[in-house]
């Protein structure tokens, strides 16, 4: 059976939502591999909340640039969970009441440590207890360690939903059918569509803002390119909206 956004878990989230009416999402954007687009997805998610005027707190666990904090310094906290002090600063803040949506850009180097600590301290269980709905956005990759890590998470995570992300920008040469067997038959996934190279280069600029584009701020792009980029963002934001609804956080 392929990976999917577990229906039972989503149902729990919805039930919880009905009870509390204040469920907020917690997204962990992760992969054990490099250059798969974790920071891009984290940026998009963060700016999705910004354009919707929803409170959001992003956490940057990367240690090599360009990182999330470079793009969105106003809403991003750089975190280091290599010692207990850093873990307290990070996890205790994550379950604080007044944060809003939480987005974690998880560097591959801290991938194992994050999930080990989270499991040990029962972080996801506590999050759900506090009406925070965790969703692991796992960016798939042809690297075998990606499929292995996905399988491990799928077996071990009982208190968080797990959703594969197919980022065709970074892995455009991997058609759906060629992705790792555990990952490619997903009935549900988050898809980051292909985008032309010039627009990718534009997005990579630290001055670029998805929220400004979304709000129609003038760009120096040709009309067709601006339209292509807007449609691309719209496609992704639409999926984020669906995720919110599924998690009971809308």
């Amino acid at each position: 059976m392929g990976p999917r956004l577990d229906a039972a878990k989503i149902s729990r989230g919805q039930a919880h939502h009905v009870m509390t009416d204040k469920t907020t999402p917690l997204y962990v954007v992760c992969s054990p591999c490099r250059h798969v687009g974790k920071t891009l997805v984290s940026r998009l998610l963060t700016e999705f909340h910004v354009v919707n005027d929803q409170p959001v707190a992003a956490f940057d666990l990367a240690d090599e640039g360009p990182q999330l904090a470079d793009y969105l310094p106003e809403v991003t906290t750089i975190a280091d969970i290599s010692d207990t002090h850093g873990q307290m600063a990070f996890f205790d803040r994550l379950i604080a009441d007044d944060v809003g949506a939480r987005i974690i850009d998880l560097d591959r180097r801290v991938f194992n440590n994050f999930f080990t600590v989270a499991q040990k301290i029962r972080f996801f269980e506590e999050a759900r207890h506090r009406s925070i709905e965790p969703l692991i956005l796992f960016i798939t990759d042809p690297d075998p360690k990606s499929a292995k890590a996905y399988a491990v998470l799928r077996n071990q995570l009982s208190q968080a939903s797990l959703l594969p992300v197919r980022n065709q920008i970074e892995a455009a040469d991997v058609p759906y059918g060629d992705a790792p067997s555990k990952v490619n038959r997903a009935p549900t996934s988050l898809d980051i569509p292909l985008l032309g190279f010039p627009l990718r280069a534009l997005m990579d600029r630290q001055s670029f803002s998805f929220s400004q584009l979304w709000r129609g701020s003038p760009t120096d792009l040709p009309v067709s390119a601006n339209h292509e980029l807007s449609c691309w963002v719209e496609c992704i934001f639409f999926q984020f909206r669906l995720l919110e609804l599924l998690l009971g956080c809308a």
Binding site: T84, H85, Q87, M88, F91, D92, I95, V117, K120, I121, R122, F123, E126
Partner: protein, 261 residues
């Protein structure tokens, strides 16, 4: 009817974590709904009493009236278990005193369940303690506790020596207490509450506290690991042995087999 049980926690060296183990045992007994009373032999101000004031009395184990207070009431107290945290250097004298007052013989006869948690330090001197202690044991259930209060390795430089000492007490069972994250240990210490209370985010008074969720998580994980150790050695089965299961005088008591992993 359940026999009264006396649990002694000791070690001749200081700083090996005797009181920490005593605290984990008290939490474990409470969780298992065992009625327990505790005696702290760190006179005049006990450490154990600071964490478990409701069930703990501070006593001078060398003082005869205090010995009477503990051992003369073992049968009459409501508590099923009397736990004694013996301070550093007093394990051998305490065992000596227990032999002199006939306590060891009473355990041999099956009148009392006697359990010893011998907290070992990482040095070879602790192995010598085992030999000294063994002379007093009689029919006690003997647990050798390796308490990883730091990152020290226990006797791994000489397994043969270690094994040779263990052989001298055939019924001895090893228990391993893992290291607790230092910051978590410090915070529980500062809070002066039982580990279970810290996990529940409460103060000694029962009022809500604001301990770090991360530290509470580490303490819970650590305490669960230790509880699993106590489950593994079937501690509750040992302590809840019925009087009716007492063997007839003159016949050896059946040895409780404990599976080691």
């Amino acid at each position: 009817m359940t026999k009264p049980a006396v649990v002694l926690i000791g070690g001749d060296k200081g700083g090996v974590g005797k009181t920490t183990v005593a605290r984990t045992l008290l939490d474990y007994f409470v969780r298992q709904q065992l009625r327990v009373r505790a005696f702290d032999t760190e006179v005049p101000r006990g450490t154990l009493k600071r964490f478990h004031p409701d069930v703990t009395d501070v006593v001078d184990i060398n003082h005869v009236p205090d010995q009477m207070r503990i051992f003369d009431t073992v049968n009459s107290t409501d508590a099923t278990v009397s736990l004694i945290d013996v301070r550093a250097g007093l394990l051998s004298p305490t065992l000596h005193a227990l032999r002199n007052i006939g306590f060891i013989d009473a355990a041999k006869k099956g009148d009392i369940t006697f359990v010893l948690f011998h907290i070992l330090g990482p040095s070879i001197a602790s192995l010598d303690e085992i030999v000294d202690t063994a002379a007093y044991l009689g029919d006690a259930k003997y647990f050798m506790v390796k308490n990883f209060i730091n990152n020290t390795y226990f006797f791994e430089w000489d397994e043969a020596t270690h094994a040779a000492y263990f052989k001298r007490i055939p019924g001895a069972v090893g228990i391993t207490i893992p290291k607790l994250v230092e910051m978590a240990a410090e915070q529980v210490d500062l809070a002066s509450v039982p580990f279970a209370t810290f996990i529940a985010n409460k103060k000694q008074s029962g009022a809500a506290a604001s301990y770090s969720f991360v530290l509470r998580g580490y303490v819970r994980h650590w305490l669960e690991t230790i509880s699993a150790e106590y489950d593994r050695v079937r501690l509750i089965d040992i302590l809840e042995a019925n009087e009716s299961s007492r063997p007839p005088i003159g016949r050896p008591r059946p040895i409780i087999k404990v599976a080691e992993t």
